[in-house]
């Protein structure tokens, strides 16, 4: 990065944060602080929902996913539009009608205090654990490739988000997310256009897509029923539906984005905006990764894309074997390039007789380079069992730094930081709100009418969660496995929380005690099954939800206590 990149990065990031903090500095009304401005329209709500979900990892890892495994990951989002229809039709009208600040406040009105506390507690536990990861995961990648100090990257981004989130609350979060998404969209489109311009002459988008498709990177829909396959139409539809329903319907970081606003209509349209755009957006990001893959077919490509990690071991005592792997990969990569060009020539000539053989040779050459890449990862593990062998997260950032002009590099780094700030802000805002409304106000009921005191408490809790997140990111010593473990723990809670809400909405005869103990039992069941089975963790969303609903019905029959249903 040169001075121009730093100017672009600092002006966009600090400018947006300062604008958000300044514009919302007089937010002293609790309703505005926790729910955002009452004049917020559907566009701001829709962008805010999108920005909260899209973390920096979305823009670092998903192009890498497209590069490595193709665009099949888009199927993970197939349940999202269906889930958002249900949230629009069922969840949102009830939240607005009851005028709640948090989703868990609704549980208190529908059931009782202990069920509200359980819902809020599960949210704080899983979102609080994830809080450090949201800052740490992009910081470690940016710090590695840019040579920044990891601790300063974490502290810098963490403090920036704390300042404007504490100052303006939900109003500042929505306002800054709108501008941050502008930077993100602008940066990603710019990267896409430059990538197309950097492809070999005459190849164009069509030719590049044909190469990517022939090498298995463009299979977007897989109708296979094979349970071994991670991404299929069916896992996306069913697993994705329950995951999205739980995330958008019951996770306060999302509920807070659409619960306020000018009207129910604006909230619904904001969610419809996401239901329509989310799949095309994810497709675009994955396609970008697939095209980066094609780009590297016509350029010298590294055998391992995390160059810092590779160089560390290549300079060690086993350096000769690492250099041998590099040379082998370079030779096979040249062969593959030749095979790809041959296949493109055959296609251009319309030689249908020669095409299958040329395609088979190209695919075989690609498999050969993939085998050497696996050999490189095995060499890293042999040198150090704790070595980071997942390099796909470094593909897109490596492309940005090596291929894009200065100024645009700063813009793309700003994309990553903007995404980190946007998702982090939504998270801190929700953690602070839930702590204030569902815990602090319950312990101090006499403080509830004192609006200024409530706002002060919300600001302090938001800042506290921000500091906890920074401290967690600095001192937890995350490994790749720990990051994945924390994501899995989040998924283990989601199903049960969704089950509690579905009981609240649809099983009107079930009371608080029945659902409370059913949720505890369902959560225990999920943990036991997780420890004893080896199925994909996405299925626990469905299992936890179904178990919670079933146990609630059974316990209600046993307890026979009257239920409390607010008039909705």
């Amino acid at each position: 990065m040169n001075h121009l990149d730093w100017i672009v990065l600092l002006v966009t990031m600090v400018g947006i944060a300062a604008y958000g903090a300044w514009h919302t500095r007089h937010t002293d009304h609790l309703d505005t602080y926790l729910k955002g401005s009452r004049t917020t329209g559907w566009g701001t709500i829709g962008i805010s929902v999108m920005a909260t979900q899209a973390s920096a990892i979305t823009f670092l890892s998903i192009p890498g996913q497209g590069f490595e495994s193709g665009i099949g990951f888009v199927q993970n989002y197939f349940g999202l539009p269906l889930a958002l229809i249900i949230v629009c039709a069922v969840f949102l009208p009830i939240y607005r009608k009851l005028g709640v600040y948090t989703a868990y406040e609704f549980l208190g009105q529908r059931f009782d205090g202990k069920t509200r506390l359980l819902g809020a507690g599960l949210f704080l536990l899983q979102r609080g654990l994830a809080a450090g990861v949201t800052i740490y995961a992009p910081a470690i990648i940016l710090a590695t490739v840019l040579g920044w100090r990891l601790d300063l990257t974490i502290i810098g981004t963490g403090l920036l988000v704390i300042v404007y989130t504490v100052t303006g609350g939900s109003a500042a979060v929505s306002l800054t997310q709108k501008w941050q998404m502008g930077v993100i969209f602008g940066g990603m489109v710019t990267a896409f256009v430059i990538l197309l311009m950097r492809l070999p002459d005459g190849l164009g988008f069509g030719g590049a897509a044909h190469v990517a498709g022939a090498l298995g990177k463009l299979q977007a829909v897989d109708v296979s029923l094979d349970p071994e396959k991670r991404y299929t139409l069916w896992t996306g539809l069913f697993g994705g539906l329950f995951l999205s329903l739980s995330y958008f319907g019951t996770d306060q970081s999302q509920v807070q984005r659409y619960i306020g606003g000018a009207s129910l209509r604006e909230g619904r349209l904001g969610l419809v905006f996401n239901a329509l755009l989310k799949i095309p957006m994810q497709f675009f990001i994955l396609l970008l990764g697939a095209l980066v893959f094609v780009f590297y077919q016509f350029q010298p490509a590294p055998v391992f894309y995390n160059r810092v990690e590779w160089s560390r071991y290549a300079a060690g005592p086993n350096g000769a074997s690492f250099r041998a792997i590099e040379e082998k990969h370079a030779a096979l990569h040249s062969v593959k390039q030749e095979k790809i060009r041959t296949w493109l020539d055959v296609r251009a000539r319309g030689d249908n007789a020669a095409e299958p053989a040329a395609r088979a040779e190209m695919v075989a050459a690609n498999a050969a380079t993939d085998a050497v890449r696996n050999e490189a990862k095995a060499a890293l593990t042999a040198a150090n069992p704790l070595a980071k062998t997942k390099d796909s997260d470094y593909v897109f950032i490596g492309f940005i730094l090596a291929q894009l002009p200065h100024g645009v590099i700063g813009l793309l780094i700003a994309v990553m930081i903007a995404a980190a700030l946007g998702s982090k802000a939504g998270e801190l805002n929700a953690l602070g709100t839930t702590t204030t409304i569902d815990l602090w106000r319950q312990l101090r009921p006499l403080a509830a009418p004192d609006e200024a005191r409530n706002v002060r408490a919300a600001k302090r809790f938001t800042a506290l969660w921000g500091v906890v997140a920074i401290a967690f990111a600095l001192f937890a010593g995350f490994s790749e496995n720990l990051i994945e473990a924390i994501n899995i723990i989040g998924s283990l809670f989601y199903g049960v929380v969704l089950g509690i809400f579905l009981v609240a909405f649809f099983l009107r005869n079930v009371g608080g005690s029945a659902v409370f103990w059913a949720a505890i039992a369902a959560q225990a069941l999920v943990v036991v099954l997780y420890l004893s089975l080896s199925i994909s963790y996405l299925w626990y969303n469905l299992i936890g939800c179904a178990a919670c609903m079933l146990f609630s019905l059974l316990l209600q029959v046993c307890l026979k206590t009257p239920s409390k249903m607010p008039s909705t």
């Binding site: 990517a212 022939a214 463009l218 977007a220 349209l269």
Partner: protein
């Protein structure tokens, strides 16, 4: 920042979207777009396979 007074008609059932008189129609449209998107993705995969 003072909140504006709530609009009593703001949470009525109208969609405010030209051509869509009910929310059910909006949801049907979203579902139709989803189906078309999946079909287009399948065709995209097939065309470039």
């Amino acid at each position: 920042m003072k909140p504006s007074p709530p609009d009593p008609s703001s949470d009525d059932g109208s969609t405010g979207v030209p051509g869509f008189r009910s929310w059910r129609a909006v949801y049907a449209f979203v579902f139709a777009v989803f189906v078309v998107t999946v079909v287009l993705l399948a065709l995209f995969s097939r065309f470039f396979a």
